[in-house]
């Protein structure tokens, strides 16, 4: 294996991994802080991708603007779905799951109906991501994805660790009752978390749109992968999820290249075996006693 090939596989893996990390982080936040099980999270991702695609192809606008619009759309969807629906069933995971499934179905089918042909991929070829030679042939697009991903995750880190809101969020994820007794406006934080998490998913979709295929099925696909990542990383652990996301991205990249017949199946089996020996995930503590 040459250095060039290695570098390419790493870049591919990191790019995919970054996308996973963005979407997964969004869900970890929503689940861990707002305690909302949002199955429509994947559809928010899909809608972010569609938004970016349409903004650029139909309105011929700047890609950065497209990303911002995706973010705004995601935030908006998060906000209204929280305010009108999830607020009343926060904490009751089954009910949230059911409601979000309903939302997801509605969102997905609406897109399918509005943009015939149904779930055929709309290949987006937004702009040609020039393949740059930097000693090695690397895809600029993927490098940009990695860069953007790192940028956003650093922003998230800063938000969570250095700002008052972030501290409030972390407090709530540990013990929401105490947090509210300490004067933290828990409802506002739940709302903000939902906005943040959904925004993350949508912006990830926006980033992906120029590079990969945009289809109505992308929500479901990424959701399952994200679930797997969360299980490996520890469901409520953000650092664990980040590491797991990158690992899974890299695993996929190398796996597809080297092993014929490699597929998601391999990944899932690999992950399951990992789980048997370490059900906690990387950082997770979800093997609690029955209480």
């Amino acid at each position: 294996m040459t250095g060039a090939l290695f570098a390419q596989l790493v870049v591919n893996g990191l790019a995919t991994g970054m996308i996973y990390v963005l979407v997964a982080s969004g869900l970890v936040l929503v689940l861990g802080i707002a305690r909302v099980f949002n199955f429509a999270h994947g559809e928010f991702y899909m809608l972010g991708a569609f938004t970016a695609y349409f903004v650029v192809t139909l309105f011929k606008l700047n890609i950065i603007l497209a990303l911002i619009l995706s973010l705004v759309l995601g935030a908006f969807l998060g906000a209204i779905s929280y305010r009108s629906i999830f607020h009343y069933m926060r904490g009751d995971l089954l009910r949230c799951a059911a409601a979000s499934i309903g939302i997801g179905l509605i969102l997905k089918q609406s897109i399918v109906i509005l943009w015939n042909p149904t779930s055929h991929s709309i290949v987006s070829e937004v702009f040609k991501r020039v393949i740059e030679i930097a000693g090695v042939t690397l895809s600029v697009g993927k490098l940009i994805v990695i860069f953007l991903g790192l940028l956003i995750m650093s922003g998230l880190y800063y938000l969570l660790m250095r700002t008052k809101t972030g501290k409030a969020m972390r407090a709530i994820s540990l013990d929401s009752k105490t947090a509210s007794l300490l004067g933290i406006n828990t409802v506002k934080i739940y709302w903000l978390t939902m906005i943040l998490g959904s925004g993350l998913a949508a912006v990830a979709g926006g980033i992906v749109a120029p590079l990969f295929v945009v289809s109505t099925n992308m929500g479901e696909g990424i959701l399952l992968t994200v679930f797997m990542i969360m299980v490996v990383g520890g469901i409520e652990s953000l650092p664990g999820t980040v590491i797991a996301g990158i690992l899974i991205g890299l695993l996929g990249s190398f796996g597809y290249h080297f092993l014929t017949g490699f597929s998601e199946l391999f990944m899932f089996c690999f992950v399951s075996i990992f789980l048997i020996f370490r059900p906690r995930g990387v950082f997770g503590s979800f093997v609690k006693e029955v209480y």
Binding site: Y88, L93, L94, A99, Q109, I113, I235, V290
Partner: protein, 342 residues
């Protein structure tokens, strides 16, 4: 008016209702001449069995989103055993249940002790793995699935009657029989101290433990028993519909099973799945013309039920009589309803 029903005559009324239901169930194929309609009813019954299993696990407090996995295991196991190993369907019907049960046992032992959230996540993964296994591996037919699965062998009854299964009607009676067994077993379990233990575990697992209830063991039972019945249902499905393909057993199927349960009402262990499955299996048929609209309608109905009637459709009578106290905006709808009654 509801209060009048809950009177000394209640059990007579219950008996009469059950009798009517039984009669209808028996003569239904004769009423519906069209085999296509019979097929739909068969599918409804299969879904009822699957949803009932989910509700059993729910009654002990655990949420599974991978229930289609055991259904798939049953279907594929039966198919392979009959087509490649040459066993008789009547053996594989039960073997499939046992195989599904064994897999449930193996996975359950590990995952039952996880926190509720982790358990749910891992069931999603199990569902996905089974889906991928039957989809990717050629032995199981790959993405195209397996076609041409033989129908059940004819059975001979006393008085020289031979029942063969080429017609839908015989399959219908078979599944009704299986449903009956399922209902009886579940009813017996729910009304015993096993059912009480499940309820205790759901309401307060820590308290249940200090009262001497081995929560992990009972949760495991609530996980395995539905898996066995799902396996049996899977075997039936494979040989009645003669085709198995991975897409019928994917994540969405597990989601839909969940929806059948929630729509009917998760507190109604047997009637809930019936109502939910009927509703959601018949709905796509009504909208068969506008095939794309169906998930939209399903989503809307699900959303409305979950927001305004979290107890499911069957909890509607309770709400109208105000015996459950819900606060907040959801109750606005019900208050309006009640105001109109006055």
């Amino acid at each position: 008016m509801l209060r009048k029903c809950i009177s000394p005559n209640a059990s007579i009324i219950k008996f009469i209702v059950l009798l009517i239901v039984a009669i209808v169930a028996v003569i239904l194929p004769l009423l519906l001449q069209n085999p296509y309609y019979i097929q739909i009813i068969i599918m409804v019954v299969v879904n009822v069995m699957l949803a009932m299993g989910l509700v059993m696990l729910l009654s002990s407090g655990l949420v599974t989103l991978g229930c289609a996995a055991f259904w798939a295991v049953g279907a594929y196991a039966s198919t392979i055993l009959v087509m490649k190993v040459g066993l008789n369907f009547w053996y594989t019907l039960f073997l499939s249940g046992i195989i599904a049960g064994v897999i449930a046992l193996g996975t359950g032992v590990v995952i039952v002790r996880l926190s509720k959230l982790a358990f749910t996540f891992v069931t999603i993964m199990i569902g996905t793995i089974v889906y991928l296994v039957v989809g990717r591996i050629e032995f199981f037919g790959g993405w195209g699935g397996i076609v041409g699965i033989p129908k059940p062998d004819p059975i001979s009854l006393p008085f020289d009657v031979i029942v063969n299964f080429t017609a839908r009607t015989s399959c219908y009676y078979l599944i009704i029989f299986l449903l009956l067994v399922n209902i009886l077993v579940f009813y017996a379990l729910y009304n015993s101290r096993i059912g009480r233990a499940w309820k205790a575990i759901k309401l307060n697992p820590q308290l249940a433990e200090t009262l001497g209830i081995n929560t992990n063991r009972y949760a495991l039972a609530a996980y395995i028993i539905p898996a066995v019945f799902a396996g049996i249902a899977g075997s039936f499905y494979a040989h009645t519909f003669n085709v198995v393909e991975p897409d019928s057993f994917g994540f969405w199927k597990s989601i839909y099973i969940q929806v059948y349960a929630i729509l009917g009402g998760v507190n109604f262990y047997i009637l809930g799945p019936v109502i939910g499955s009927m509703f959601l299996t018949l709905l796509p048929e009504i909208f068969r013309v506008a095939h794309e609209i169906e998930p939209l309608i399903t989503g809307c109905i699900l959303l409305i039920v979950v927001i305004f009637l979290p107890g499911g459709l069957l909890s509607l009578p309770q709400y109208i009589h105000g015996s459950t106290g819900l606060e907040g905006k959801q109750n606005v709808f019900l208050r309006i309803l009640r105001r109109k009654k006055r």
